[in-house]
């Protein structure tokens, strides 16, 4: 069902995570992570689950992450929004266009 997700059945060896999702990063977050796209292991297939996974994966970017929104399929996501197959997930740090 979830093409954006890699199922992992052995929860003992994965610290309670149930799979991975790909996340697009931009600007200072991408710079901090050293990549524009990251796969993170999640415990829940929700926006909140992705946020928690990112906080664990990128502790050096904690401050910026706390001020960042998460978009799903080109729309700002809500906390308990469930991720579906082919969901495109992107982290949106504070913007500075214009």
């Amino acid at each position: 069902m979830r093409e954006n997700v890699t199922q992992q059945n052995d929860s003992f060896s994965t610290g309670g995570t149930i799979g991975e999702v790909s996340v697009k990063l931009f600007a200072g977050l991408a710079e901090s992570a050293g990549t524009k796209e990251l796969r993170v292991a999640v415990k829940r297939y929700t926006v909140a689950g992705v946020r928690c996974a990112l906080e664990a994966r990128l502790p050096q970017a904690a401050s910026l992450l706390s001020r960042s929104a998460i978009a799903v399929d080109g729309r700002y996501g809500t906390k308990n929004q469930i991720l579906h197959s082919k969901s495109e997930i992107a982290v949106i740090p504070p913007v500075s266009g214009g």
Binding site: G16, I18, F26, K43, A69, T78, I92, P94, S96, G97
Partner: protein, 163 residues
């Protein structure tokens, strides 16, 4: 010649043709046309900028600009609008953004252009990197008094024990 499209949006790596952007909002119904251009400034709070680099999340940037256009129609009764943002390297003096608006009267045209710029700078996922010969950094402003879009429901507690 009046084009039929009432809203145009573009993100481009190429220099922005501001005359063309203005021409796209011309309408027989409009008595006022406003063009705003933002350019790369050489000095910001004592820090010299050699150039800016812009990145964007295109699908969300376009969706947000459409939403802002629809709000501007509702608030200011604008007739046409065009928003063009430059991506990549933008040298000092070059245009990074052009916003053109047409309305029946000048008050609505000026007010809507100003309002659109304010909203774009807070809601649209575009980021600038400020580059000089001594430093380079992405700009992520603290948005005091304004909760960024998409942050509703956060912050949250991450439970590290529960799957």
């Amino acid at each position: 010649m009046e084009g039929r499209r009432v809203f145009q949006f573009d993100l481009t790596e190429d220099p922005i043709d501001t005359s063309f952007v203005l021409s796209t909002v011309v309408s027989a119904s409009a008595g006022a046309n406003v063009l705003f251009t933002g350019t790369t400034r050489q000095e910001t709070e004592g820090v010299i900028t050699d150039w800016l680099e812009y990145d964007a999340y295109k699908p969300l940037a376009e969706r947000e600009c459409v939403r802002l256009y629809e709000q501007a129609v509702s608030k200011f009764k604008i007739i046409k609008c065009s928003i063009v943002h430059r991506l990549g390297k933008v040298s000092v003096g070059e245009v990074s953004i052009a916003v053109a608006v047409s309305a029946v009267h000048r008050a609505e045209a000026f007010a809507s252009a100003s309002w659109l710029l304010d909203r774009i700078k807070e809601d649209v996922p575009v980021w600038k990197r400020q580059v000089s010969d001594t430093q380079a950094f992405w700009v992520h402003p603290e948005q005091e008094g304004h909760t960024p879009r998409g942050l509703n429901g956060f912050p949250q507690e991450c439970d590290n024990d529960m799957p």
